[in-house]
Amino acid sequence: MLRKKVCLVGYGSTEYSRKSDRPLLSYYAEAMQNAMAQTGITKKEINGFSMVTQASPDYSPYVAEQLGLELDWVLNGDCGGAGAVCAIRRAADAIEAGYLDLAFIVAGNAFDKNVAHQRVLEYQRANYVDVYGYGGPNTLFALVQRRHMEEYGTTLEQIGKIAVSQRHNAGPNPQALLRAPMTIEDYLNSRLISDPIRLFDCVMPCSGGECVVVASEERAKQITDKPVYLVTDAEKIGFQASNMLPDKTVTGMSVVGQHLFSEMSRDNIDVLAIYDDYPIAVMMQLEDLGYCAKGQGGPFVDDHDLTFAGDFPVNTGGGEISVGQAGLAGGMLHVVEALRQLRGEAGERQVKAAETALVTGIGWLSYARNLNTTAALILERRS
């Protein structure tokens, strides 16, 4: 379905840190302040608010109270790594329905010991997976990557090229925590964590925050001369959930892609912001979105230049594996990078003539399956 009158009008980021003891809500507040400064929106004007969170005692109305927000619309975004994209979709629905004209959507992470943000394992993972001594998402993605490598002949060099290209993209990004050049040898020689997953496949947890501002077209025109339109969007939750013999290498993005690209050709996308908790996740999404056939992600990566100056720019700011993953701001980071590119604010890493972007979000691995949540947006700059 095409969206008609919903825009993304601004964003705000904070610096990322591995050591900060700042509380989470200070990251939310700073990201929102930066978005307010960029858009000229005053705090009183904010009538919609969503925070993207996983397992926390901070229900969104409590956080709204903490931040002194009086609202017509509030949402606790709960789709894991797809939460940012899903929250933007929900905000767009509410704006189209006329409930509000402006929503601030925030996400972040902090190592704040005073608030119980300790992630609780969902029940099935606690009773039937954790008891075996598994390594968290590293092992769950290893189980997927092993299947992909054995079924399709995908090589570590092909998967590693994604990590190496993204590190190159992070070079000019001051927000990225990992900017030093990395070679394919560095990738291959990095320590095994849960084979075939190695250290340079993994995101680095950090603290930080991101905010995106969604507005009606009418408000957007008052706020910015660079409105970025939400063109179309889709999600799939629980792909293969009732199949006891699921295809381990296919994700719900295969369904999402069909929706998106019935509205616009995938070849018209200028910038790809593909949720990258692991390089193998990027490869599977490219396949499922139809950029190549299932299993051909390896040869596809071989044939393309994934850097910001290349023919197929993916994760032009370095992605989560180079910037750092500030909890569920990891999903928001991709939206913000797409906005920087479409607004021509990406500096040295600017993709030339970037008018359209694809942003994906994915969230946790279902028991013995693949991704539970998958969602994506197509954004377009219209002047």
Partner: protein, 134 residues
């Protein structure tokens, strides 16, 4: 220091763990539509019926995928690394996340036949279904 992770047994999966403690692998089957499922749930993933029964299964299967985990989430498991976490496809057509044990666990390959054994835990009343190369 916290110990190795153990299940928090509850009304939904009590029969599963009771079977394991007696050396029997049990799965849920829906009396309404016949679906066999794992992990244990309050309702059938095929038809949402709550009329579920427990049936013993062969405990034989083959390896669908695996990983030798060197950094367990719960560091209490560090004395056992590398831990061969695997998904096993049972003959009955259901996959389980489990663990392959035995000194030959570094020889595990995709498709390798395996059979269930029951591993002691730090709780004398709880045994874990794990698998060995057949």
């Amino acid at each position: 220091m916290a110990g190795k992770s153990l299940p928090v047994i509850n009304p939904v999966d009590r029969e599963y763990w009771a079977g394991a403690a007696k050396g029997e692998l049990r799965l849920q089957r829906c009396r309404a539509c016949g679906v066999l499922q794992f992990f244990p749930r309050a309702a059938c993933t095929g038809c949402l019926s709550s009329d579920l029964e427990w049936v013993p299964v062969s405990g034989r299967g083959k390896v669908h995928t695996f990983s030798l985990c060197r950094v367990p989430r719960n560091r209490a498991f560090m004395d056992e690394v590398p831990i061969c976490v695997a998904e096993v496809e049972l003959e009955e057509g259901v996959r389980m996340v489990t663990r392959i044990v035995g000194d030959n666990r570094d020889q595990v390959t995709l498709g390798a036949p395996v059979s269930v054994v029951f591993m002691d835990t730090e709780d004398a009343d709880i045994k874990l279904p794990v698998f060995e190369l057949a």
